[in-house]
Symmetry: C2
Subunit: 518 residues, 2 copies
C-alpha cells in the first residue's frame, strides 16, 4: 500500500467516498489508487470551478463532505471562487491539493507557487502532509476538521512523493466535535428580550434553515410576536407546503431596511448581522435601525436548533405552528417574463426537488411562486461569487441521485462554469437546467444606477451586455452532450419543464426572458 492508497482508504473509512477531480501529473498516483479502493467514486470535472462547486452542492445535500482533487496552486486558484462560496455556506469540504514532491519544491519548477497563501483565503484548516506514514492520519484529521461545526473547508496539501512511497496503512476515522449547547443563561436573556414588549426581530440562517430549525423559530415567533426573517442567501433551505412561512431578508438594502424598520432588538440565530451586500454612496452599510440591540442566540460551534427549541419551551410556545398551505400557481400562458418564469416553475416543481438557484434578477418571482409547492430543498449563492449554480446542481445530484434537481441559472453567471454540463451528461445526472437568458449582466445594469455612477454611457453599457454575439445555450449544451431546447413563451417553458423532469438524465432549457425593468 502506498501513501495514495492509504489516504483514499482512510477517506472512505471516514465517510468520504466521492472525489470531484481535475488532476494533473502530480496527482497521478492518487488517480491510479482509485482502482485499489473501489468504494471511492471519482467524478471528473473539466475545470476546477466545477469540481469545487460540485463538492459544495454535494455536501449541502449529503451532510458530509466530498473530496476535491486539484492540481497545485493554479488548480486551487481556478477552484477558489466556489470554495469562497463554500466557506460562506459553512460547507464541509475536504480539499486535496497535489503538490510537487517534497524534495522537488526547492527547484522552483514552473508550477511551483505559494499554495498556502491561496488556500488561506478559503480554508479553516490547512495541513501539508509531510510523509507517507502520516498521510492517512492527516486525511482523518482533515475530515474531522471539515465536519467540525458549523462546517468548513479543510485543505490537505499532498506532495507527489507522499503518494507514491510505501505507507503503513489506513488510519482510523477521527470523530468531529459535536455542536456545543448554548448556555441556559443566554437562552434566558434572549427570552427576557422577547418578553420585554419591545419590537424584536429574529434573523435565522445556516443550520436553522432545515425543517426542525424553521419550526422552532416559528414557535418562538408565534409565542413572542417577534418579527421572523431568514437570511438572504441560505446554503440549504427546506421549503414548500407544510412548513412555516418565513420572509427572507431582501437583497436590496433599502428593502431590507424596511423589513427591519422599527425593531429595538434583533436576535441572530446562526446568521450574520445584516449588512449591505455592497456599499453604495450615501447608503448605509449596517441595515438594522440606529440604536437596535443585536443579540446572538447561537453561532459558530453552538447548536442553534436546540437553542431555539429550548427558547420556545421557555416561552411556553405551542408545539404547532401555522404552515404554508399546498398551492401552485396556474400554468402560465403568453409572454415569457420573470413573472411567468416563476409561475411555470411553481406549476410543475416536483416533490422532493432540489433547487440550485443562481437565477439572480430573473429569479425574483420564483420563491413566492414555489412557496406552496410540494416539499423541496433550495440552495443559493452564499458568497456572491457567481458561477456556482451548475456545479452545485451537479454535486447535489451526485449526492441524491433519486431526487430531481432543478438548476435555475442566469445567463451571465452560467458562462463561468458551464463545463458542469459535461459532467452531468457523463454521470447521467437528473438535472434540469433553466437558463434565464436576458442577454445581459442585468444585475449590474441595476447596480450601475444604484451605485450612483453617472448614467452609463455606451462603453459602460457595452461592458454589461451579452449580445454581440448572442450566446446560443442550446448549441453550447449539445456541444457538451446535454439535450437542449429553446423556449420563448410561458406555455413552451412549462411543457419543456415537464418533459425534462419526466425524462431521466440532464436537460437544458434556454428560456428567453427580457430583463426586469429594475
Amino acid at each position: 500500500m502506498n501513501g495514495a492508497q492509504a489516504l483514499i482508504r482512510t477517506l472512505v473509512d471516514s465517510g468520504v467516498d466521492v472525489c470531484f477531480s481535475n488532476p494533473g501529473t502530480s496527482e497521478m498516483h492518487f488517480v491510479a489508487a482509485l482502482d485499489q479502493v473501489p468504494e471511492m467514486r471519482g467524478v471528473l470535472g473539466l475545470f476546477e470551478g466545477v469540481v469545487t462547486g460540485a463538492a459544495d452542492g454535494y455536501a449541502r445535500m449529503a451532510g458530509r463532505p466530498a473530496a476535491t482533487l486539484l492540481h497545485l496552486g493554479p488548480g486551487l486558484g481556478n477552484g477558489l471562487a466556489n470554495l469562497h462560496n463554500a466557506r460562506r455556506a459553512h460547507t464541509p469540504v475536504v480539499n486535496i491539493v497535489g503538490d510537487h514532491a517534497t524534495y522537488h519544491k526547492q527547484y522552483d519548477a514552473p508550477l511551483e507557487s505559494d499554495i498556502d497563501a491561496i488556500a488561506s483565503a478559503v480554508s479553516g484548516w490547512i495541513r501539508h502532509s509531510s510523509a507517507p506514514d502520516r498521510v492517512a492520519a492527516d486525511a482523518a484529521d482533515a475530515v474531522a476538521a471539515a465536519m467540525s461545526p458549523p462546517g468548513q473547508v479543510a485543505t490537505l496539501v499532498l506532495p507527489a512523493d507522499v503518494c507514491w512511497l510505501p505507507a503503513s496503512g489506513a488510519a482510523a476515522p477521527v470523530a468531529a466535535p459535536t455542536a456545543s449547547a448554548v448556555p441556559a443563561d443566554r437562552i434566558d436573556e434572549v427570552a427576557k428580550v422577547l418578553r420585554s414588549g419591545e419590537a424584536t426581530g429574529i434573523l435565522i440562517g445556516g443550520r436553522v434553515m432545515g425543517e426542525a430549525g424553521q419550526r422552532a423559530a416559528a414557535r418562538v415567533a408565534a409565542a413572542s410576536g417577534a418579527r421572523l426573517l431568514s437570511e438572504t442567501f441560505s446554503a440549504r433551505q427546506a421549503r414548500g407546503a407544510g412548513l412555516p412561512s418565513i420572509d427572507r431578508l431582501a437583497y436590496l438594502a433599502e428593502f431590507a431596511q424596511m423589513q427591519l424598520d422599527g425593531i429595538a432588538h434583533l436576535i441572530l440565530v446562526d446568521a450574520a448581522a445584516p449588512v449591505s451586500f455592497f456599499a453604495y454612496p450615501d447608503k448605509a452599510s449596517v441595515l438594522t435601525p440606529e440604536g437596535c440591540h443585536v443579540h446572538r442566540l447561537a453561532a459558530g460551534a453552538e447548536d442553534p436548533v436546540a437553542a431555539l427549541e429550548a427558547l420556545a419551551d421557555a416561552l411556553g410556545a405551542e408545539a404547532d405552528v401555522l404552515s404554508v398551505a399546498a398551492s401552485r400557481p396556474e400554468r402560465p400562458s403568453g409572454a415569457l417574463t420573470s413573472e411567468t418564469l416563476g409561475a411555470a416553475i411553481g406549476a410543475v416543481l416536483p416533490e422532493g426537488a432540489i433547487v440550485a438557484d443562481e437565477a439572480n434578477t430573473s429569479g425574483l418571482f420564483i420563491p413566492a411562486a414555489t412557496a406552496g409547492a410540494p416539499r423541496h430543498d433550495w440552495m443559493t449563492l452564499t458568497g456572491g461569487a457567481i458561477g456556482i449554480g451548475l456545479p452545485m446542481a451537479l454535486g447535489a445530484s451526485i449526492a441524491c441521485p433519486d431526487r430531481p434537481v432543478l438548476a435555475l441559472q442566469a445567463d451571465g453567471s452560467a458562462m463561468y462554469t458551464l463545463q458542469a454540463l459535461w459532467t452531468m451528461a457523463r454521470e447521467s445526472c437528473d438535472v434540469t437546467t433553466v437558463i434565464a437568458n436576458n442577454g445581459s449582466y442585468a444585475v449590474l445594469n441595476m447596480e450601475l444606477s444604484r451605485v450612483g455612477a453617472e448614467a452609463g454611457g455606451p462603453k459602460a453599457r457595452e461592458m454589461l451586455d451579452l449580445h454581440g454575439p448572442d450566446l446560443d445555450f442550446v448549441a453550447l449544451s449539445r456541444g457538451m452532450g446535454v439535450p437542449a431546447e429553446r423556449v420563448e413563451t410561458a406555455e413552451a417553458l412549462t411543457a419543456a419543464l415537464e418533459r425534462a423532469i419526466a425524462e431521466p438524465g440532464p436537460h437544458l432549457i434556454d428560456a428567453v426572458v427580457p430583463p426586469l425593468g429594475l
Copy 2:
C-alpha cells in the same frame, strides 16, 4: 473628476489603454468612467481566466501592459492560474482588483476575503489604493512596477469609494527603471569559460528569444563551439526562415538530459537552471550532469541581450550567423495525425503570424514543420497552468489587429477558458483556432506511466478520458458566435486553415487527431 476617472486617465497617459474586464458591482464606477476617458478600450471577458490570459498575450506582443479589471477576491481567484503563467513569463500586467468601500470592509459582507493573500501568489507588487487623491499616483506606480525589468504582475486593490469620491486629477507617468548592464568582469569570466576548451552549453530564454538575442547567442555559440539551447517554454520567440536555428530544451527530462549530456559548464542567459517539470520516482530533478558548473551571464533586471552582444564581441565572433533557410513541408495528405497536423500548419502558416501554442502532446511535430516558414512569433504556456491558449490568442490579436493569429489548442486545456471565443467574436479578432481533438488528457496518460504508478486501471483511465460524451467543439464554437468546422483528413485541415486565414474574423477548426502513441 472622481477617483475612477483619475485612475483611468493616468493609466492611459502611462501607456495602458486596453482594459480586459469582468466587473461586478464594486467596479461600477470604473466601468462608468470608461465613457469619460475615450482612449481607454474596455474588452469584456465572460470569465476572469479569459481576462488575465488575454492581458498576458496582449503584453507579450505589445511590449507594454494591459490592465485587467477583476471583482474582489473571488474574481482574482478565477484569474489566478493565468496570472501564474504571466508571472512565469515575466509579463507586465496591471491587475486592478475592485474591493468593498474602505469603511464597508469591517462588516465582513459576503464577498469579503483576503485579497492580499491571493494576490501575493502571483504579484511582484501589491498596493491598496487608500484615497481618491492617491489613486492616480498609485496607478502610475503600478504601471512602472509592471514594466520594471524583467516585467511582473502589479496588483492594485481598488476600494469602491476611492473610485466614486472626487479626486484632484490624473498623475504624471512614472518611468520604469531600465535594464541594468551586466558588469564587464562577469562577461570576461563567461568568456574565459567559453575559451577553456571544456564542453559548454548555453541556455537562453526570456528576453533573449527575440531576434537580436537569438542572433547574439548564435554568434557566441559559433565562435566558441558551445552547445546552444533555448528554454522549453518561452513567453515569445521570434521564429522562421532567416533566424538562427536553436534547439529547444525538451520537456521530457530524459530527453533534456541527453541534450545536456557531457557538458562541464552551463551558461544561463535570462533562463532558469534546467529542472524537471515534475518529479518522478527514481528520476532526477536537476537535469544538468553531475559536476556541471552553472554560470549566470544575465538574469532579473539585467540586460541579457546587450550582455550576449558584448560577449560575442569579446570572443571575436563573426557578425553573421547561419540562418534557417526558407522551406515549407509539402501539403500533407491522408490521415490526420500529429505529423500531418504539423505539416498542414507548416504548409500554410502566413508571414507575420502570431502562434499561441497550447497544443501539448498533439503539437509535437509543429515546431519542426514551421521552422523554415516565413517569420512569425511563437508564444507558449510558461507556467504549466493550462487554459491560457485561447485567452493568449485573444490578447495578442487585440495588441496586433493586423497580424493573423493562430491558436493551436489541445482539447482538454481548451475547456478551461473556452469563453475566450465569445470575446474573439465580439471584437472581430482575426484568430484561427485549431483544436487538436484527441478526446483525452493525453499528456496525463503519458504521465500516468511515467510517474511509475501501477498500470492505470479502468477508474484511473476514466479520469483522463474526454469521451462519454464527446465534446463537439463545432457546436461549442458556434454557440459563442465563432464559425467552425470539423475536419478528419490532412487535406481537409489544410484547406480549412487556408479558408480561415483568408477570411477576417475568428474561426475554429475541430481537428480530430488520434493521441500520440507515447
